[in-house]
């Protein structure tokens, strides 16, 4: 579904990604782990069109998308939940959800999708009149994920959904990610919380200093001595 080949991305003089290649298949959950500054967020931002790559290809459903503007890429079915959720703080919960279905193709279905989301996540229905700014960290993260579902995506890019959350809340957010996974969406997730995130994944990548160092199944990651030592802490 998503194929990234030999991607190079720079911020001015500083190169953040070096020849990164990665794939995500239909309905697959892929997780990318690695330390801070490994280029994981840069990778997601380049796929969603917030950054332009210096070279390399990104193919989504058979179409080349690298360098297209972000609003065009969303319309093709890739949605990106940036780190921290990046909600609109002075819009209400309902308005945040509504703006998620801004695309004309999603707008006509907006009422229907909204109902599905309220089913999945009743608290958003209860709080719909509240400003997004007044929600707790975990609720905000879940609202951010729910908002991205409003665009009827095929692939969801999740950037550290657990960042800055208390351990108990992390589990709840990741449970929510699991619910979404079971609905058949393809997910590419970047996560620091390696052990919990790996359990959700079908396949995983290890990134360090802008390069992919390992690719494999969930099992192979749990068994890898280096990953066990450096990231899982067993």
């Amino acid at each position: 579904m998503l194929e990234i080949q030999d991607l190079n991305v720079s911020y001015g003089e500083f190169q953040a990604l070096f020849g990164v290649s990665l794939t995500v298949a239909e309905k697959e959950t892929v997780i990318t782990v690695g330390p801070n500054g490994a280029g994981k967020s840069t990778l997601l931002k380049t796929v969603s069109g917030l950054l332009r790559p210096r070279s390399g290809n990104i193919t989504f459903l058979g179409k080349r998308i690298e360098g297209l503007p972000a609003h065009v890429i969303v319309d093709m079915g890739i949605t990106h939940v940036p780190e921290g959720g990046r909600l609109f703080p002075y819009l209400t919960v309902l308005e945040n959800l509504k703006i998620g279905s801004y695309l004309p193709r999603a707008r006509s279905e907006s009422g229907k999708i909204l109902n599905e989301i309220y089913q999945l996540f009743p608290i958003l229905d209860e709080r719909k009149k509240q400003l997004a700014d007044t929600m707790s960290g975990g609720e905000r993260q879940m609202l951010a994920i729910a908002r991205c579902l409003m665009s009827r995506p095929k692939l969801i890019l999740l950037d550290e959904p657990s960042s800055g959350l208390a351990p108990r809340v992390v589990s709840r957010v990741l449970e929510f990610v699991h619910t979404i996974k079971s609905q058949g969406y393809a997910i590419l997730m970047v996560e620091q919380n390696v052990r919990k995130a790996l359990r959700l994944s079908d396949r995983a990548y290890l990134m360090e200093s802008g390069r992919v160092h390992k690719e494999g199944t969930q099992q192979s990651f749990f068994e890898d001595p280096y990953i066990k030592k450096a990231y899982i802490g067993l």
């Binding site: 972000a70 609109f88 819009l91 308005e95």
Partner: protein, 290 residues
């Protein structure tokens, strides 16, 4: 003396309505595009010249001339986006460069107006009746402007709160990148905003036309007034701008009645400086820490 002050206060409040509209337009453009439209009053002036020309030279009825001015000013707003603001955004110009470019635009518009319409006062000839309550006299044109301004503000409020495009405008004002991820094209929203801001200058021009005669330097004081109100209310704060408009309307009108219009302008600027010194975030603004 009491009657004089009463008259001044009421006219100040009525003027406040239109000033609120002016400040709203400047605030909207600042909130969305992050550019201070220093030629906003000059656009109002241009709109008044259009009304004048359509009435005087084409012989159109005043109401029709006003209605035609609205889309005309909307197109001019989009033209400014295309030829002035977009090049600045593309060049990632710093705020000082942006300010200078728009200040330059005021000179262009004012001199263009002088070349086309001359330096004399131009006005449409219309006498609307005075309404009196005891010793307080209200000009019908001021009343129309006041209620028209409130109606326009309500319409804008509905547009921003009840439509997808309005929601997109508010989103862009809060977080551009996040808005792009929602499928919003910022460029399109910038054009919509400048068009709406332009139509708004047309609306203000229509309300001003029966009240004031226009001359090439008419816009300057209104740009200044709008800017003072926006700063007083807190940059980008719509409610603050609304309240600020009435404060400034009242203060300038009362001080003009008590002293002279020149003193009133000075007082407005003194308020401006005081706000910047004492409460730079404005009446309702949020302090931003860096």
């Amino acid at each position: 003396m009491f009657d004089l002050l009463m008259n001044a206060a009421i006219n100040g409040l009525l003027l406040g309505g239109v000033l609120a509209l002016l400040a709203f337009g400047m605030n909207l453009i600042f909130g969305v595009i992050k550019i201070i439209h220093m030629a906003y009053g000059q656009c109002v002036m241009l709109g008044m010249y259009f009304v004048y020309t359509l009435v005087t030279f084409l012989g159109l009825p005043i109401l029709l001339a006003c209605l035609l001015t609205l889309p005309l000013m909307g197109v001019i707003g989009m033209g400014l986006q295309m030829f002035v603001i977009n090049p600045l955004l593309r060049a990632k110009a710093n705020p000082l460069t942006q300010l200078l470019a728009l200040a330059g635009l005021t000179i262009v518009i004012e001199n263009l107006a002088q070349v086309i319409w001359g330096a004399d006062l131009r006005g449409i000839n219309i006498q609307l009746p005075l309404i009196s309550f005891g010793n307080v006299f209200l000009r019908t044109s001021n009343l129309i402007a006041f209620f028209g301004a409130l109606l326009t503000l309500w319409g804008l409020y509905m547009f921003l709160n009840r439509t997808y495009v309005g929601l997109a405008i508010r989103s862009i004002a809060q977080d551009v990148d996040s808005s792009r991820l929602m499928g919003i094209n910022p460029q399109a929203i910038y054009y919509v905003t400048m068009a709406a801001g332009g139509v708004l200058t047309g609306v203000i021009a229509a309300f001003f036309s029966p009240i004031y005669a226009v001359h090439p330097h008419f816009g300057g004081s209104f740009t200044m007034m709008a800017f003072i109100i926006v700063v007083l209310g807190g940059m980008g704060n719509m409610l603050g701008g609304f309240i600020g408009a009435f404060v400034i309307g009242l203060v300038t009108s009362l001080s003009a009645a008590l002293t002279s219009t020149e003193i009133a302008d000075i007082l407005a600027l003194v308020i401006f400086i005081a706000v910047i010194l004492i409460r730079p975030q404005g009446l309702l603004g949020i302090r931003v820490s860096k």
